[in-house]
Symmetry: C2
């Protein structure tokens, strides 16, 4: 257990145990180097539609693992229980947010055939951005990444439709190309930016008022850079008025045992 990966895996497992015991804190910066994931769990009858929605919209919905129906186990962390090991969940009925528990066991039990999707998270490429000396503003500010709904519709699939959600990081003009290339090496965790520059091009009217997360300042000489975001499935649950779903709460991710480097091409 002396290698950096083994020690990060131990930190991931310990964090999950704390969340299981009730701790409720955002996961940014937890177990650095271990991939974190967005969660969406839906009844089996909606699983094909969502898996195809993800295939059709791979930038916002890069699927890292899918559980067997009824199982809370994932290959991303064999000791984890998806019902309890995230710090905060959201329960959705008919597209409405109805609860934000720290333990989803009760909601999970409502559907014996729930299928959980674990979806890549941009935290994975933030580490290599920082290593390259590119400041990740929301980390520097100690806040949650700002996320926005856009006017870009996802390609629909069966019951699922909705707009793409993006996250935004201000990047100095002379580092934009590098930020695009670095994140582009991680296609399984949203990959390269979907938009660089004027927020109006995505139908975003005010960067200071994100739809999820916290606003961050954009300084002189910086350009807002937008990446597809794993909150997109939650927007699809809302837009599609899905009868039932459980997701993570934005920023309160699943911390896996898989190294970020696994997703680098």
């Amino acid at each position: 257990m002396n290698s950096p990966i083994a020690s990060a895996q131990l930190e991931a497992r310990t964090a999950r145990e704390r969340y299981r015991a009730g701790e409720c804190l955002p996961t940014a910066g937890v177990a650095p180097g271990m991939a974190q994931a967005n969660l969406l769990a839906v009844p089996r009858e909606y699983a094909y539609d969502f898996l195809l929605f993800a295939q059709r919209n791979p930038k916002p919905c890069p699927v890292l693992d899918v559980t067997d129906p009824g199982s809370p186990r994932t290959v991303l962390a064999p000791t984890a229980d998806l019902r309890t090991d995230l710090p905060k969940y959201r329960v959705w009925r008919d597209g409405e947010l109805v609860d934000e528990p720290t333990d989803a066991t009760e909601a999970w039990a409502e559907h014996p055939d729930l299928v959980a999707f674990l979806i890549g998270c941009s935290f994975t490429f933030e580490t290599p951005l920082q290593r390259a000396g590119i400041e990740v503003r929301h980390i520097a500010e100690g806040t949650n990444v700002p996320m926005y709904r856009t006017n870009r519709q996802c390609r629909p699939s069966g019951a699922f439709h909705g707009e793409m959600v993006v996250s935004m990081r201000p990047i100095p003009s002379d580092r934009v190309a590098e930020a695009a290339m670095i994140s582009g090496r991680y296609p399984a965790v949203h990959g390269s930016p979907v938009h660089v520059g004027d927020p109006a091009g995505l139908g975003i009217s005010d960067l200071a008022r994100p739809d999820f997360g916290d606003a961050v300042p954009v300084h002189d000489g910086e350009v807002p850079v937008f990446w597809a975001c794993g909150v997109t499935p939650q927007a699809a649950v809302m837009a599609s008025r899905l009868p039932f779903a459980i997701t993570h709460a934005p920023g309160y991710m699943f911390v896996s045992d898989v190294s970020d480097t696994t997703y680098e091409v």
Copy 2:
């Protein structure tokens, strides 16, 4: 229609029209620069299991598009009809190859809810290999790429299980790294090699006797390099004894209107 892409798209459309009219030739070298794809069509009741099989085995089964149930249309080529526009098909019953028609309309009509999967093909990265001055042996020899079953089991999903199939290209020792890096930039079309060197490591006993395609010579100073292969779904259809499936015949691919460069990261 004077751009290189427009002229390649025209060539792709013309080729599909010839196949529709009955021409039956391998597609290697057809419409260079346009992505070609493997085909697997299964009844809707097996579609989720296969889509998840593909998600669990992305190197052999990179999904480029999935049709709506019953529709022979794909976004990869809006004018194409998947029932007629490939040069040769295979029809499978209970995992047995029962027919190799040049027109699949009749077989397709047996199941009104057939779902077709279009899966990336290594032809896409062969063009950049050649541009880098790396000889692609089976192209130089004018034969079909050699393909082998392996001892590596795919991660199963519902009705689908089976071993991974690989394609092999002999590469000079001093170009192996470059070949790995170039193909690795195309994760949607099998990506980087799964194995470099001794075929025995994959359970392949004799390179001269491929399970599909044609043998090619491996010269002194060359290393056999193995890539995950889009024939893997056909091996899964056989191993899983799937009641019904339609696939392309190996080497007789679907020629799309999408540029290979679309799949470069």
